[in-house]
């Protein structure tokens, strides 16, 4: 496979506190994004998927910080470690929006209500590509057409409140792809949308990813969205990557007990009313100190070893790795 355009290597994120010692909310995250491919990051609330997304944009601010690891992005100057850059410095600002862009969950709060959508698209075009206002406006209208907004000349002069939820999300996508970034981070891009609109937006993202050769990191909690859109999947639980697999391998043969639990919690596709098998208990609170595997308290296969150390990700096949002591051949203690 080609070299990845974006790579997170052993990235950990800490939450600092004045009173207590720092807490680690993401532990040694490794991920790679490839041109035209989609990597899905799945997990439930509080698993660390959104902070991981923010760290990929180097958007964390106090009390959150990247405490170790590197985030490598292909730029004009070669591979750059953006984790080393000042998050609000000029160098980072010249990368953000130009090389790597983000789509947020709620298009109503992410768009500025007092500017027209056209103005909001032209902003990054003028900033990054040095276009004149007039040229940028023309390009903004083209972008609106590209993301499937009817009558884009008129719509560019609209304010966000004049658009429906689906159209607002299309505008956000237009802003994100304005400077043809090589990496697109989509944090729950369709969670706030209705299912018919969700299907339209996901299809648009797929097409754009392929046509423009963008690498996409899709953050979601919906396994249906994962199955239909991802090439590769990372499952997170309480700050750890517990499983990493190609999308077919993950759904055919979920390896980690947590992934298995998620699949068993879904209502069966044939609508048969068998009793669902939920995962007992709940995710341990972020304030709880955990030794060993964070899933041990809910795991049906828990062993004494699980309460002592958390295993690192180990490969169980060419396209699947898992962090669990159930696979002794693959598991080894985290360094």
């Amino acid at each position: 496979m080609n070299a990845p355009v974006f790579q997170m290597r052993n990235v950990s994120i800490d939450l600092d506190s004045l009173k207590n010692p720092s807490r680690r909310i993401a532990n040694g995250i490794d991920l790679e994004l490839h041109r035209g491919k989609t990597l899905a990051l799945v997990g439930e609330s509080g698993c660390g998927k959104s902070v991981t997304a923010l760290s990929a944009m180097n958007l964390l601010s106090a009390p959150l910080r990247i405490s170790e690891g590197s985030i490598l992005l292909e730029t004009e100057a070669g591979r750059e470690d953006i984790a080393k850059l000042n998050p609000s410095g000029s160098q980072m600002r010249s990368i953000r929006g130009r090389r790597i862009a983000m789509i947020f969950q709620d298009p109503m709060t992410a768009l500025d209500p007092v500017y027209t959508v056209g103005d909001q698209i032209t902003e990054s075009l003028c900033q990054h590509l040095g276009l004149s206002r007039k040229d940028a406006w023309k390009r903004a209208v083209e972008l609106l057409r590209l993301v499937g907004i009817p009558a884009p000349e008129q719509r560019a002069r609209n304010y966000p409140f004049q658009l429906s939820g689906g159209m607002r999300q299309r505008v956000m996508i237009a802003i994100a792809i304005a400077c043809s970034p090589s990496v697109l981070i989509a944090d729950e891009p369709t969670t706030a949308l209705d299912v018919t609109v969700q299907a339209q937006i996901l299809e648009l993202l797929r097409e754009l990813g392929e046509d423009l050769g963008m690498a996409t990191l899709l953050i979601t909690h919906d396994l249906g969205v994962v199955a239909e859109n991802a090439d590769e999947v990372i499952v997170m639980y309480r700050g750890y990557v517990v499983e990493k697999a190609g999308v077919d391998a993950l759904f055919d043969n979920p390896a980690h007990p947590y992934t298995q639990g998620l699949m068993a919690s879904l209502p069966p596709a044939d609508g048969e009313r068998i009793e669902l098998t939920p995962i007992p208990g709940q995710v341990p609170a972020i304030t709880e100190d955990i030794v060993g595997c964070p899933f041990a308290s809910r795991c049906p296969h828990v062993m004494p070893k699980c309460g002592e150390t958390m295993p690192a990700l180990g490969a169980i096949s060419s396209e699947q790795s898992v962090a669990c002591w159930l696979y002794p051949a693959a598991a080894e203690a985290r360094p």
């Binding site: 209705d194 299907a199 239909e228 609508g271 939920p278």
Partner: protein, 352 residues
């Protein structure tokens, strides 16, 4: 089977006011002539996208929102069939009936008062609805908590000390306090994570079996509706476009909207070949419902007739009703097309 609830031609219109004198200039027709009946002990699913009127309908049934027209017949305790007309009841009689019908809201974070302890949250409705001694109330509260899988230890705590799933359990416990026989579940699992959602769904099924409850389950999540509901009605712009037994609707949808809605649901099975998105655009505003069939602006098979006349709900198959002029023709065409060419589908119309 007797019906717990029967509603006919129910309407909920919200006035739209404008200008200095706040004159009424129009109406949002959130619910526009809905009729349905829910058999005792069944789970009835109400499905639709945001703004289709499903929550307005649920609230109107409980008289939390005064309907603009129509009848709501409820079978109260001791009656043989749905006979009490809720819209005509005096406030006092309605209040007495309220203990028989309860609601669980979508967001357990805003449905519980953050400043009250769980014991107060659960005690208040009991004091309002029943005349019981302190000891009896306590007993009832503990029984209700145990029914939802919590213990007495929860009583002294505040809502923020619980997770989302536990809060939803508390909200369900509150709904159960007055021994209701009908509960409206307004998106009760939409705010919950997958693993916790399964816990709550199991709990709802178990409570229904134990207590013989009748549910109206309002949701936009079709996979949950398919799993939980015996019957289902699909709403679009304030009207029911299709309704019938759940298995029948999912296996053999007749309305073009239902077909497109079902096709849009992401399935947790990796794609084998891309499926084309067939439904384009957004639903029109309920302030400005199109003439004729409300779906004709997005329907891939709309004809002149659809633009002119409103289709009535017609029965096609047992208990399966649909509001579409062309349901039979379209379904026949599709089965012919499917037999001839497995890839063919309804022609895609460019978005308006």
């Amino acid at each position: 089977m007797t019906d717990r609830l029967r509603i006919s031609d129910l309407k909920v219109h919200y006035p739209v006011r404008k200008g200095l004198l706040r004159r009424v200039v129009g109406a949002v027709r959130a619910v526009d002539g809905v009729s349905l009946s829910i058999p005792t002990g069944a789970t009835f699913g109400l499905v639709g996208e945001s703004g289709c009127g499903k929550s307005s309908l649920a609230r109107a049934i409980l008289q939390l929102q005064k309907p603009s027209g129509g009848r709501i017949l409820f079978r109260a305790e001791g009656q043989d069939d749905a006979a009490t007309e809720l819209t005509a009841l005096s406030p006092r009689r309605l209040r007495a009936l309220r203990r028989e019908m309860q609601i669980v809201f979508q967001d357990p974070y805003s449905a519980l008062n953050p400043r009250l302890r769980v014991k107060t949250i659960l005690d208040e409705p009991l004091r309002a609805m029943e005349t019981l001694s302190r000891a009896e109330r306590h007993q009832r509260i503990v029984r209700s908590l145990e029914a939802v899988g919590l213990t007495e230890a929860a009583l002294e705590r505040f809502p923020h000390q619980f997770s989302g799933g536990q809060r939803q359990r508390i909200a369900i416990a509150r709904a159960l306090l007055s021994n209701p026989n009908f509960i409206v579940l307004d998106e009760p699992v939409s705010a919950l994570d997958v693993s916790v959602r399964a816990q709550i769904l199991n709990l709802l099924i178990q409570l229904q079996r134990q207590l013989g409850l009748t549910y109206l389950f309002v949701s936009h999540d079709l996979s949950v509706v398919k799993y939980l509901c015996d019957q289902v009605a699909i709403m679009y712009l304030g009207r029911i476009v299709e309704s019938g037994p759940t298995a029948e609707i999912f296996a053999n949808p007749l309305h073009p909207y239902t077909k497109l809605l079902l096709a849009a649901v992401p399935v947790p099975k990796p794609r084998r070949g891309r499926k084309a998105v067939k439904l384009q655009g957004d639903p029109p505003s309920p302030m400005n419902i199109p003439d004729g069939c409300p779906f004709h602006t997005r329907c891939p098979s709309a004809t002149e007739e659809c633009r002119k006349s409103v289709p009535k709900l017609r029965e096609l198959g047992s208990a399966h009703v649909v509001a579409c002029h062309h349901a039979e023709r379209l379904t026949a065409q599709e089965s012919v097309a499917a037999a001839g060419n497995p890839k063919s589908m309804i022609p895609v119309r460019a978005s308006a």
